[in-house]
Symmetry: D2
Subunit: 364 residues, 4 copies
């Protein structure tokens, strides 16, 4: 529980601080024989990187990935895959001041309480740059899933008060908010431009679905697939809520409305509705898996704020630096990565659930 | 990831089916020297047991706990604590019919898909009785926390459309819904009596807080305290959403409204507000930890429902048996247990975070 | 690392003290569909139980196993299997004296140092009775392996200065020492009868082999199959050394003598010799796996010994109670159990090593 | 169990192939505040690196370590420490031939069986270069231990038939075999020079002790300190046997000879002898911890050998490349590293064993 390891089978360890030499991830337990290139990983990283629009931080970072181990002749070898991105535009001077006080709603205070001191430059380990490792590993997880016909797709569902009303997948990469609804995008632009003038920031919701997931993934009791997804998603900085299927709406519903009736369709067991979001009793039911995450507004705003310094004095501060007024557009790919990593883990875990299939696997 | 083990330090393994010989839990990693009696564990189990009111299943089960190991002369020994409850009023005949079909929104179908067959009696391992092990282990976790001045309290926040409006802790155990607001309890009674006449069921929300938690618990990145809580809570059957602090409400908020400013109070660092729910950057900040869970309506309703049988035929079914129209009142103690187990794990994990404290611990 | 959990996939948790209400084990992660009965488990327990000859403790314990969960209609369900043995002939009075001092070469002192106090009755958790849980779980592991054509066989190789010279498998259960050589058995009897007259005890070596193990089990680096076996075997109380294949003899050998040349045999890759004991680079090579464990002499001897008491005084003691002058005969089944548990874990882990086989498994 | 992660608290993940871009390790769970420099880590790596004498491979590799994360202002931060060494003198051409056949007693065949193919260059992941990550992480573990007064010291005990007869610690770094006995070193030189003329290789034994270890480390049952050490040491390539204290010699001993009597000394509980090697019941007893490992002779010898190729044909081969006729001298620091990593893990784990100490730790 040291904190930077995720997964039981496809196990990733991320490392790196915002302003250290680099950021990276090691994947232990990736099956051998998955075709993967640095370019494919880079594609995912490019969706995460800053500077994509005026709604994300203007820092320019290329975030170029290097494959340091575990891939040979274009395929994963089954041994640890080490991926690394060198940090480039560290302007540590931007941060020297924050060494002495605790930024509101940041992790400065809690890191100091836990560890006695902290690498304060750019948030150190609590920086959003930490997600580079997640996204790089997630790219390989997604590649594995794609080969099995499993598709994962995340997008912004709402920003502040504006929620999507239609779903047009092609629209996702078409607007700076990664929301699959052009009208909503226009209204968000107006809303966010207003916030920017006030140097404020906004929260939002990201939704993610996965199709093609076989029934049977996830375990009863503690390692339910939804429980694992909840941890994966809640581990993303700024997430304050996670729901599966109808989520919090089920609390106001009744059994007769919320139950998903089974039916036969083309010789297969299906559900007439999907309030459950593709998971029953913690195990995937073959239907589309649906989840949502609530992101808090970026705490780095440029208004004067009250806080305390390390000498225990009340002070007023004006945070500087280069920050995102919205993190949802860049976090979409992080949500996809964490969903993919969780599903891969469940896929591998599930292979040992039945003795008959084990005998078949080993031809015995 | 076999599923029935929870925790990394204070590690529990639950076992047992609804209609097997018994239900139990083994705790490995419980510190030595905690005073505990079977009576204290029983008290928690009594809050979970059926038959407490007409709103819970009329099954009569005493659920008497036996301490099988790990406690000597009234104190935990540091070795595994085995706790067991014998099953008593199994009426397996109630369930013989459901062997052949899949109850809507239950785990019947997914268990069959995963394991090839299932113990169908009373839901087998997916029965709510599985939580007996969680509650029994949770009682010891709560005892450990109480000795440190940490208090955990959960209660029903809403049932169907009715939400609490005031908080009166003394009222929680005073009404059959365990809601800390007598007026809301009265309105819920009316609402639920209506549902009962229609043999329907209702969802709801449980809220839980923890006070006295020291700052510094939880780890950066994947094992954030909120991520661990999210997994713990989402692993409870019927939970479809989890939130920390302001939860989903943050999505519509702005940084200037959502940020919690720090201030000094009696020589200690405090926050003026607690939108964060006591966790910053995945680490406890010393403030009250607040979480909520959305429970879906019990799927076992007594209306005619559509489903499929194991022969792949569409059928209509009328589920019989003894079920809860509401699970929130009995689930409150389960939420407390999972919260307690998570906090104990984080408390123990945190002890190795600083070298200076390690040297002090070992007097070196 | 709380201590009583073994395995990553087929994960067992043992519990129970020598003189508490019972001893047991919970298996989480056992695949569904393995046929198993209480009788089959009992058979293994009977090989471990005391009172089998005058060379083992005269305590009479039936050690009858109860299956408490996880088996339905004669097959494992894929959910936790809880197995329990009630303790019967506890004569705690035998042990009241040892509460106050530390028996030489027992765990009394170290338990007190670690936990602050201990359940001193019969050694509590450090009693050999703890292995009941291992043997019960091992019986299911062996059943799983047998269905795959994997056979595990352990036996005494030497006791004191007497070592087996021939291998006759049928002889193992034919003499009280479980040594596969009738002549050696006769010489051991003489040696041990001498020790008994002096109320002394003897060490010995147990050897174990496994045939039919497919190539590919175990992982490179830290979870090498031999490393996992070493931990499994060294975790048995009294074991002070473990070796694989030629073991310590390799230290005096040369590469040209120790290398196992490969050759083709019936269309398959084989080795001409098996100095390696069936494991190369930490991964099984398809050949017979061979290991040995060195057991120290039982520390409970009936001679006067020097030690200290809890008041920090030097004292002389005469230990009483009922003890084994030799533990090898009863430990043979424990070595088999730990070997089986390790191999099952490696078998399940290995299923996710290749992407092509994963695609095939999921028919994708 | 993917294989490249070691430890539960102080958890390391190693990565890298012999002929890939580099080799490295990530440490998750290292306590904050340990002073460490790249130079200190380099010192350990220098003891491991090739080219130290004519008895080790003539490859010239500088193996310069870079600290990529987790150290700030000269101290560990409590977040992951990433350490990396770039590979320099890869001569992959040396290895192109071995792609097509299986070297005797190497991991070529088993890697192919497990993963379907392998990075054959220089042994890929099964190369001894993998231990760079272990040694780098071990340097930090040793620094942590040194601050607590715990000292670890490993050395060659025997090579081929020549065993040390005296122990002179100062002599260890004084001869190319790292044996603490100058006379033995001279005799080994003669023995090994003879082997070199025949292009053969030799096995040997490494012994390691740890002083200053507090009593109480290690857990009862499966995570016994000796069991964890056995796994750690057996996971080093080429190790075929591990023993603790008197090891295999106990098998021929009797209880009256092997028991270590307790006595009081300067007010503390001590043992008159240390046959146990500092561990009783799996828990450290405060005495010196002693272990030994048997290393097989390097399999890369330059004599003609029989083997098979990937087409399933019997062939003769002459292995080329640059190899160590002896690995003990370079493996000494690897044994120290694995011992240190295991002890640190046990030290951190032990902090949560007693409730009274937990209350004290948290000032409650």
């Amino acid at each position: 529980m040291a904190g930077s390891i995720f997964g039981e089978y496809f196990r990733i360890t991320t490392w790196g601080e915002s302003h250290g030499p680099g950021i990276g991830v090691v994947i232990d337990g990736c099956p051998a024989g998955i075709p993967i290139t640095a370019e494919e990983i880079q594609e995912s990283l490019n969706r995460r990187k800053p500077g994509q629009s005026k709604y994300t931080t203007p820092r320019k970072e290329n975030d170029l990935v290097e494959i340091m181990s575990g891939v040979f002749e274009g395929k994963t070898t089954g041994t640890p895959i080490s991926l690394m991105v060198r940090n480039e535009t560290q302007r540590s001077s931007d941060y020297s001041e924050i060494a002495s006080y605790y930024r509101p709603s940041h992790a400065d205070y809690t890191f100091d309480e836990k560890f006695g001191f902290r690498d304060y430059r750019g948030g150190g380990r609590s920086s959003g740059r930490e997600t580079i490792g997640r996204v790089a590993a997630g790219a390989i997880a997604k590649k594995l899933l794609e080969g099995m016909g499993i598709k994962i797709c995340a997008y912004t569902k709402s920003i502040g008060p504006v929620c999507m009303e239609t779903f047009d997948e092609a629209e996702i990469e078409n607007n700076p908010f990664r929301i699959p609804d052009a009208n909503a995008a226009a209204r968000i632009q107006e809303y966010v431009d207003g916030l920017l003038r006030e140097t404020d920031s906004s929260g939002g919701v990201i939704e993610c679905f996965a199709t093609g997931v076989p029934a049977g993934l996830g375990s009863p009791v503690f390692d339910k697939l939804d429980a694992c997804l909840a941890k994966a998603i809640m581990s993303i900085g700024a997430v304050k809520g996670v729901e599966i299927g109808d989520g919090f709406a089920v609390a106001a519903s009744t059994g007769s409305k919320n139950n998903d009736n089974f039916c036969m369709k083309d010789g297969a067991v299906c559900k007439k509705t999907n309030h459950a979001g593709g998971i029953l009793g913690g195990i995937s039911d073959g239907d589309t898996i649906v989840l949502r995450a609530a992101f808090k507004p970026t705490p780095s705003i440029f208004k004067t704020q009250e806080t305390v310094n390390k000498n225990g004095e009340d002070i007023s501060v004006n945070i500087r630096g280069r920050h995102d007024p919205l993190i949802m557009p860049r976090a979409v790919v992080v949500v996809e990565a964490m969903t993919a990593l969780t599903l891969v883990d469940a896929l591998l875990a599930n292979m040992s659930s039945r003795y008959d299939k084990i005998l078949e696997f080993y031809n015995r």
